[in-house]
């Protein structure tokens, strides 16, 4: 039976500062939420595995680490990303405009087949809503991207968003280009020589 495929994908977060990118990931990975989450999560990347009906998908999630603040994300960030979550804050219309420009940036710099999901975060703050759900949905449909409103605070739609992404990812690859014989550098098990 081949219904237990294991796939590994790089997923990047994009979006303006303070829209809740890190909170969304911390909720997804650790199922935690902190009202005053530090601006960066201090980790190179987090991983989380999702079991679907026919495959197990492991996400390697890259946070912007603050490099979005002055639009100084390195090409390395986009490279090899199979999926991207573009986050905006439903109480902040500027962040929605920002999200649209991040989608454009991604289409320009990312891989051609990158799966894009737009997350309208802070959906728990309905009373302060400034971004219309239907407007965002129409934009997403027109661009062929996933759209959901999420709340990292009450966990609403967080797992659903990542599951939806997982379903759209190709299920036969390791992510990226499997034919290359690239390798990570690993230290030698023992330092045999004093000069090496």
């Amino acid at each position: 039976m081949s219904n237990n495929r294991f796939c590994h994908f790089k997923l990047v977060l994009l979006g303006d500062t303070a829209v809740g990118k890190s909170c969304l990931v911390v909720r997804f990975v650790r199922d935690e939420f902190f009202e005053f989450q530090e601006p960066t999560i201090g980790a190179a990347f987090l991983t989380q595995t999702l079991a679907l009906d026919d495959a197990t998908v492991k996400f390697e999630i890259w946070d912007t680490a603050g490099q979005e603040r002055y639009r100084s994300l390195a090409p390395m960030y986009y490279r090899g990303a199979a999926a991207a979550v573009v986050v905006y804050d439903i109480t902040n219309p500027d962040s929605f405009a920002g999200a649209k420009s991040w989608v454009k940036e991604l289409q320009r710099r990312g891989d051609q087949n990158v799966v894009i999901a737009m997350a309208g975060n802070k959906a728990d703050l309905e009373a302060h809503r400034k971004v219309d759900f239907n407007e965002a949905n129409e934009y997403a449909e027109a661009n062929g991207i996933i759209h959901m409103e999420t709340s990292a605070k009450n966990a609403n739609n967080v797992k659903a968003l990542f599951s939806e992404i997982a379903k759209r990812l190709p299920n036969n690859t390791q992510g990226g280009n499997g034919e290359r014989e690239a390798f990570p550098i690993l230290p030698q098990k023992q330092e045999a020589r004093n000069c090496c």
Partner: protein
């Protein structure tokens, strides 16, 4: 004046070249607040890997022809260098765990120019015995010499065979094994990667250590001692910048520094950019960010970036090679390096090969200096030539709090540049960088 970014930092780093990014990464890991700026809209400064648009713009060459392929397929290094698999840069990547952001591939072949021909640098003792580089008896002497170098351990006198490498010169060492001058040249230039003949009259120890690094690097991954990051060298500074950002560093690209500010003691204490300024305890940067009285010129390097639609001829049609032309072979003092890369390392569109010829300038006609290298390439579709003046700081930064890196050297690898980086680190922090790698810590903590 408005505050620049957060306004207050421990360190302001100018330029996003490899050395500056390594330093910002290491400093922020230690808890320093770092602001890093670059006047360009890309990472890497002088050692960036450029896409076609940025490359053609840099050389004012108009629009790139569509026949080359897609812009995004190109990552063309401005400074061509390969990484010694067991050298100090690799150690630094492991030390900082920046390895987790990068993937590498071996360089397929290493060649040397001798008597008008391109010959493979032997990768194994068997290859050495078959190589047309040497005659039969010379091969045996070469093998005996390599065995001595392999066994040699500074701390174990029993491996010294009565030779004191701290006083014996390299020339004397070669001669003590009966090796002929052609072989000296081949070993020194193609394996020890000496740039000229100066090492011959110096104590042999450092050259022998270079040969050991070469041999261990070769044994590590196979066909050549070099490795190279997929997508180009630009990934190195990018990786270290991410390390810095993850630890709270602030990054501003496309933002030039107008002025470095000083306190009453002449110590740098911040920078101005437009109508904004930020303060810091010291500033670090490449020579281009500092007034010219703080740096001095050390020479000139010519680098010729060539697009080919074929692999370099006479090198086994390999996707990636290095050819070293020892200076004395073509009537020069300094060696000429040829590096070639292709789609296999994701630096060019399929079918396009990038060959870069570089050497230290000896006269004032750049085109003439690279002729022996260009002659090996066959048909060249497009050529960009640049002559860069190299600089080093006038002082160590202790009195003016301006810590300045040296320009990248003309060599084909990073070993000398890492020495400069270690020196910069020590000048900034007052400490030596601990380069001991804990082999078990790398995969565990992310």
């Amino acid at each position: 004046m408005e505050p620049l970014a957060d306004g207050e930092y421990d360190a302001i780093i100018m330029g996003t070249g490899l050395k500056e990014c390594v330093l910002s990464g290491l400093l922020s890991v230690q808890g320093m607040r770092v602001l890093q700026m670059d006047r360009n809209n890309y990472y890497g400064a002088d050692c960036a890997s450029l896409n076609l648009t940025n490359l053609y713009e840099k050389f004012n060459a108009g629009q790139p022809p569509e026949s080359l392929g897609a812009n995004r397929d190109f990552n063309v290094d401005l400074i061509p260098k390969f990484i010694m698999a067991c050298g100090n840069l690799t150690k630094m990547l492991l030390h900082s765990k920046v390895t987790r952001y990068l993937e590498f591939k071996s360089i397929e072949g290493s060649y040397v120019y001798k008597g008008g021909k391109i010959l493979k640098v032997p990768a194994t003792p068997e290859e050495a015995l078959k190589s047309p580089l040497m005659g039969l008896f010379e091969k045996r002497r070469f093998r005996t010499f390599l065995l001595f170098v392999d066994q040699y351990d500074e701390t174990k006198p029993e491996t010294h065979q009565g030779k004191d490498l701290t006083t014996m010169t390299m020339k004397q060492l070669y001669e003590s094994f009966g090796l002929v001058p052609d072989t000296h040249q081949f070993i020194s230039h193609a394996m020890c990667l000496e740039l000229d003949e100066a090492h011959m009259d110096k104590p042999a120890l450092s050259t022998v250590k270079e040969l050991q690094t070469y041999c261990y690097s070769l044994a590590r991954y196979g066909t050549s001692p070099y490795i190279y990051p997929v997508y180009g060298l630009g990934g190195l500074p990018e990786g270290f910048s991410r390390l810095c950002a993850v630890h709270g560093g602030t990054f501003m690209l496309h933002r030039d520094v107008d002025e470095i500010t000083y306190n009453e003691n002449g110590e740098a204490n911040g920078v101005k950019s437009g109508n904004e300024m930020a303060r810091a305890k010291f500033v670090v940067g490449d020579p281009s960010y500092f007034p010219k009285e703080k740096v001095k010129a050390t020479g000139q390097v010519v680098r010729c970036i060539c697009f080919l639609n074929h692999p370099i001829p006479n090198c086994g049609d390999l996707e990636s090679v290095q050819i070293i032309i020892p200076g004395p072979q073509v009537g020069r003092t300094n060696d000429i390096f040829v590096c070639s890369l292709s789609n296999s390392h994701q630096v060019a569109a399929k079918g396009i090969y990038i060959a870069i010829v570089s050497t230290k300038m000896e006269g004032d006609d750049a085109d003439k200096e690279v002729v022996p290298g260009l002659a090996l390439l066959g048909h060249i579709m497009q050529r960009f030539t640049m002559v860069a003046t190299t600089y080093e700081p006038v002082s160590d930064g202790s009195s003016d709090k301006c810590f300045i890196s040296s320009s990248f050297d003309a060599s084909s690898h990073f070993e000398g540049d890492v020495d400069d980086l270690l020196s910069l680190y020590k000048r900034v922090t007052g400490k030596d960088l601990d380069m001991t790698i804990n082999a078990d810590s790398v995969e565990a903590d992310y």
